[in-house]
Every structure is written in structure tokens, then in C-alpha cells.
């Protein structure tokens, strides 16, 4: 029990649950039929749609942050992936599978380049800042400076791509199922494999890991490859949901949303501690908060303030002195 109450994921999950309950209780009713606006299939559907591609980005980001790094390029990779997939599907008539596989491979390859530079002791922030700019340019070049629409149905994109737009039971998006599967996979990889242990070791203390025989360079490359591949997948999901590949997604700041979700989920920006499950909770927490504030007509400025506050509180809750202080209050009772 003590172990449970000390884990960040536990508290993040409790917060999420509390937020869901409060959201349901305080949600306004619809104007005519008087239904609770939060407890609706449509709300669940749009919430899950919204979190799914940011969640996929954030799962990849989790690996990088666990190694003590950061990947600022995921926002432009999202743009590159969505635009490239749109072009393959519409202009070249590729099948859904090969289009998605190619964009995931492309983004993973870019991730590998970034990872190699980080492994060569360049700072992750600088490497991926450069990557952000270059990938953004590449996305615009590939897309010929245009947003690329796709159409489903006769004469449009491969019908199989429509699977990414589908909903199970009418409210659960397939993209959310993919996110759940990805989180499970990441959780298993981090908890049960040698690679997972090595990721934590590199983030905990790179020198010690090296001395202990951990192939630090390869672990770093793998982390950025995973982040790149996840960005590629997220781009395909984005494309399916909005039927538009947009090379300018780099301008929307999704990389910061992914980082925020990872941090709120209890993963340390200094590396070595955290989990994929926490990231899922972080993504949902921010998503539910946004949805609830939207239902209450809070404007965008307040939503930004609230998101910032949540990030700060999550960071504070990880701070050694704050934990000590809270622990002392608990003990004195």
C-alpha cells in the first residue's frame, strides 16, 4: 500500500477519477432536452478522438524523456507524416497499409538520425530543435507548401484507411484502441525487457549505466526511433480523423502537449523515473480538463492557464522538498 501511495501514477489516476466524477456532477445540461452534457456518447467520442493522437505522440516521448532527453521534433514529424500519407493515398493510390508503414518508417529513420546525434553526446534539446526546423521544412517541401486533403469512398483513398476513422460500439474510436494497445506494449517493454531496464538505467545515471555495460548509444538511438515511429503513427491517425494532411502542424505546438502529458503522468524530465501508464493518465487528465472547461464555456485563455497550473502542480508534487513537507504533515497527524 505504501508503495502504491508513493507512486505518481497512483495519484495522477486518483486525480483523473476525481476529475471525471466532478465533471459529470457539475456538467451543465443541454438547453432543450436537459441531458447531462458530460455523460454522453458524443462527448466520450470527441474526447477520445482528441486525446488519441496526442497520446500516441506522448507514449513515444515517454521513452525519450526516460533517457533524460527531449524530442521537440515530434510536432513537425506529425505534419510530415500526415502530409506524406495523404499524398501516398491520394496521388499515388497506395494501399492504407503500405502508406502507413512508409510514414512510420520515414519518421523512425529521422528519429534514428536524431538519436545517433544524441548518442554522439550532442544535447537532445539542440539536436531536436534543429530537427524540428528541418523536418518542418521537409514537410512543406514534400507537400509542395499545401495542405493535402483526402477523400474516402469511390475514387478516393484506399477504403482500408477508413478503419482508422471507425468507432467500436459507436463511441470508442479505433484510434483510442490503438493508443491503449500501444500503452500496454510500451508498459511491457519498459517493465519486463532488458531494453526497458536499460532505458531507466541510462536516464538514471548515464555514466554508471555505461560502466555497468549498458550499450548507452544504442539505447538512445532506440528511444528516438520509438518516438519517431510514434509520431508517424500519430500523423496517420490525425490524417484519418481530419481528412487532411497538414505540413504546418509544426506550428500548433503538439510537441509541448506531448511533453506536458508525460510530465503530468509523473515521468521525471531528468530521466530515469516514470512510466507509459502514467503518460496515458496524463493525456486523459489534460483531455478531460479541456473538455470540462469547454462544456462550461471557459475560454481558451483559462484553459491554457489551467493546463499550465496542472503541469506546475505535477512538477511540484515530484519536488523532493514538497514531498518531504507533505510527508511531515502526514506524520504529525
Amino acid at each position: 500500500m505504501k508503495r502504491l501511495t508513493q507512486s505518481e501514477v497512483f495519484w495522477a489516476a486518483v486525480t483523473l477519477l476525481a476529475l471525471v466524477v466532478v465533471s459529470a456532477l457539475t456538467a451543465p445540461d443541454s438547453l432543450k432536452s436537459g441531458q447531462n452534457l458530460f455523460l454522453q456518447a458524443a462527448t466520450a467520442r470527441s474526447l477520445l478522438n482528441q486525446v488519441s493522437f496526442i497520446g500516441v505522440l506522448a507514449v513515444g516521448m515517454t521513452f525519450v524523456i526516460l533517457t533524460g532527453g527531449i524530442d521537440l521534433a515530434v510536432g513537425s514529424l506529425l505534419g510530415l507524416s500526415s502530409a506524406s500519407a495523404a499524398i501516398l493515398l491520394m496521388d499515388h493510390g497506395w494501399s492504407a497499409w503500405s502508406s502507413v508503414a512508409l510514414v512510420i518508417g520515414l519518421c523512425a529513420a529521422i528519429g534514428a538520425l536524431q538519436g545517433a546525434l544524441v548518442a554522439a553526446k550532442l544535447q537532445p534539446f539542440i539536436v531536436t530543435l534543429a530537427g524540428f526546423s528541418m523536418v518542418y521544412a521537409l514537410a512543406r517541401i514534400v507537400a509542395d507548401d499545401r495542405r493535402r486533403d483526402i477523400r474516402m469512398g469511390e475514387g478516393g483513398a484506399d477504403a482500408a484507411f477508413g478503419a482508422l476513422q471507425a468507432h467500436v460500439f459507436g463511441w470508442l474510436p479505433v484510434s483510442a484502441v490503438i493508443l491503449a494497445a500501444l500503452v500496454a506494449l510500451a508498459w511491457l517493454a519498459l517493465r519486463t525487457t532488458v531494453f526497458g531496464r536499460n532505458v531507466y538505467a541510462v536516464g538514471g545515471n548515464e555514466r554508471a549505466a555505461h560502466l555497468a555495460g549498458v550499450p548507452v548509444g544504442w539505447v538512445l538511438v532506440a528511444a528516438y526511433v520509438i518516438s519517431g515511429a510514434c509520431s508517424g503513427l500519430a500523423g496517420a491517425i490525425y490524417l484519418a480523423q481530419y481528412e487532411q494532411g497538414n505540413p504546418d502542424l509544426a506550428r500548433s505546438g503538439y510537441e509541448l502537449d506531448a511533453i506536458a502529458a508525460v510530465v503530468v503522468g509523473g515521468t521525471r524530465l531528468t530521466g530515469g523515473r516514470g512510466s507509459a501508464l502514467g503518460t496515458l493518465v496524463g493525456v486523459l487528465l489534460i483531455g478531460v480538463l479541456n473538455t470540462t472547461m469547454g462544456l462550461h464555456d471557459w475560454n481558451e485563455n483559462f484553459q491554457k492557464l489551467a493546463k499550465g497550473a496542472i503541469i506546475l502542480l505535477a512538477a511540484l508534487s515530484q519536488h523532493a522538498r514538497v514531498r518531504e513537507f507533505v510527508g511531515r504533515i502526514g506524520a504529525s497527524r
Partner: protein, 310 residues
């Protein structure tokens, strides 16, 4: 993390009390408006126009700003539909990403009015917008008049690939095609921004000694180009045309009045007209499917009228 819970609970309790206080058994017409990016100056003006019109008409306006993100705007449309608003106004971020959302809203029985940018479906009641191609053409015709059929022009683009930039480009070029003596000698991408407009113009001034007219796809870039020319002491040797003609001290109308821009072309917001059309439909009147807002040429002679315009 415990503190987070307390904070979240407290803020939600606050939320709850606010919303309960606000909602009462009112028979007011409730109109939802989903704006794609309320931080752009022109869209701020758009919002002000719409809010003012709503206040005058005694309509309750639910305003949601997607801050430039397609997924937020999709969520906003869904939430306004769930709220069962009497009418939904939407100014979509882009056509295809919001098409399905508009179709769902219409299918749910909410009358939808699309403002400014369109969607790829006709499942709405009316589309209210200015016509960028027409405005670009007006700018081109004015350029021909200023140059007398002979001269060298540089064009500073908005975000290349965006629909308004393409249309403002096309209309302008269509008009210029009438006079072979007028040549566009260079094009640059200014991304709608004043600072980039200035930087691009600095480069153009170095490369070209004989620029007679600068056409920028919006006023901030045109003012940026004027700033660059002034640094070289060449601002009197050329004409500057912008588009938008926003009111207020930072707007294009003031820039014309100050002698920075030779002329600009009003890109009217559909805020007022959009609400008007929606209310007419709710009263049971027949409304046209497409409403095109006319442009106006703003010159030093009439600029004062546009500076304080509401």
C-alpha cells in the same frame, strides 16, 4: 499530487456554481459560435462584430475559440451540438477537417451557418463570406490605374499554399493580365507577418533597383515592406498596396491615413451579416445559400471613415 486533487475539486466546484448561476429558464435565442483562431487581429474584429450584433439583438452567444487547432474545433462543434443551441455559426480552420463535423451538426437538426472559410459539403443553411479572388482583382485593377499600364511589381505572399493567399494572388494576376506592360518581377513569402514582410522586402530592395509597386496579401506585410523601403530612403519611389483595411490604430485604414500604404482593400468580417442571416432563418424567412460581402477600396481620401468603423 494530493494537492492537485484539492485544487481540481475546488476549481470544479467553482465551475459548477458558475454554470448553475448562469443557466436559468430563459427563452432567449442561443447561438453557438466556433471560431478557429481568435488570436488573429482580423478574427478579433470578426468576434467583436459578432458580439456587438448579438448584444443588439438580445441573443445569447456561446463563443468557443479553437486557437488554430482542427481537433479542438471539432470538439467545440460537437459540444455546441450537444448543448442544443438554436443555431450554430462556424468559421472553420480549414474545409476538409471540419466537413464531417458540419455534416453531423446538420444531421442532428441544428441549423449551421458557415462564415469566412467554407467546408466541402452543402449540408448547411448558408455560407457568408467576402470573396478573396474578387478583392485580389480589385487590388490588381487599382494597381493598373496607379501605374498607368507600365511598371514593375513585387508581390509578398501570405502563407503560401493557404487558400486566402492563393485567391488573393490569383485575382491580382487575373487583373494584371490585361496590361502586358506591368510585370511582377519577384514574389516572396511573408507568412502574413509584419516582421517577415519587412525582411523579405529588404532582400527585394537589394536585388531590384526599380520597384514601382508592392502588393502584399495583407496590411501588416505591406506596412513591413514600407518600413524596409523607408530604411533605404526609397519609400517615396513606390506604391504600397495591402488587403484587409481593419479599423483601429493598428489597422490598415490608419496606415493609409498615415501615408504608409497607397491603398488597401476592405476584407469585411462576416460577424454581423452571419448573425443577421442566422436570425432571419430562425424567424422562418428564406435566406440565400451564399452571401458574398462586398469589398471597398480604401484610399487617403476615404480612409478616415474606416479607421473608426464599427
Amino acid at each position: 499530487m494530493k494537492s492537485v486533487i484539492v485544487w481540481v475539486l475546488a476549481s470544479c466546484a467553482l465551475l459548477g456554481s458558475c454554470s448553475k448561476a448562469a443557466s436559468g429558464p430563459s427563452k432567449k435565442v442561443v447561438v453557438g459560435f466556433s471560431q478557429c483562431d481568435g488570436s488573429e487581429p482580423w478574427r478579433k474584429l470578426f468576434d467583436e462584430d459578432l458580439r456587438a450584433a448579438a448584444a443588439e439583438q438580445g441573443v445569447e452567444l456561446l463563443y468557443l475559440d479553437a486557437a488554430g487547432r482542427a481537433e479542438r474545433q471539432n470538439e467545440h462543434v460537437a459540444s455546441l451540438v450537444a448543448k442544443e443551441v438554436d443555431a450554430l455559426l462556424i468559421s472553420p480552420l480549414d474545409a476538409q477537417p471540419l466537413t464531417a463535423a458540419v455534416e453531423r451538426a446538420t444531421a442532428a437538426g441544428v441549423p449551421v451557418f458557415v462564415l469566412d472559410r467554407n467546408v466541402n459539403t452543402d449540408a448547411y443553411v448558408a455560407y457568408v463570406s467576402a470573396d478573396n479572388t474578387q478583392i485580389g482583382r480589385a487590388a490588381g485593377e487599382h494597381a493598373l490605374k496607379l501605374l498607368g499600364g507600365q511598371g514593375k511589381v513585387v508581390e509578398i505572399w501570405g502563407l503560401r499554399g493557404s487558400t486566402p493567399a492563393q485567391e488573393r494572388h490569383k485575382g491580382f494576376r487575373d487583373a494584371l493580365a490585361a496590361a502586358p506592360g506591368v510585370q511582377v518581377i519577384a514574389e516572396q513569402d511573408g507568412d502574413w507577418k509584419l516582421d517577415l514582410g519587412k525582411a523579405r522586402m529588404q532582400a527585394l530592395l537589394k536585388a531590384h533597383e526599380d520597384i514601382d509597386l508592392v502588393y502584399a496579401h495583407n496590411d501588416p506585410m505591406a506596412v513591413g515592406a514600407w518600413l524596409a523601403a523607408r530604411e533605404d530612403g526609397r519609400e517615396k519611389q513606390m506604391k504600397f498596396l495591402g488587403i484587409d483595411g481593419n479599423p483601429g490604430p493598428e489597422g490598415g485604414a490608419q496606415a493609409v491615413l498615415d501615408g504608409k500604404l497607397t491603398a488597401t482593400f476592405l476584407y469585411p468580417t462576416p460577424g454581423r451579416k452571419g448573425l443577421e442571416v442566422a436570425l432571419a432563418h430562425l424567424r422562418g424567412e428564406r435566406v440565400p445559400k451564399v452571401v458574398t460581402l462586398p469589398t471597398e477600396t480604401i484610399t487617403p481620401e476615404n480612409a478616415a471613415r474606416f479607421v473608426g468603423k464599427k
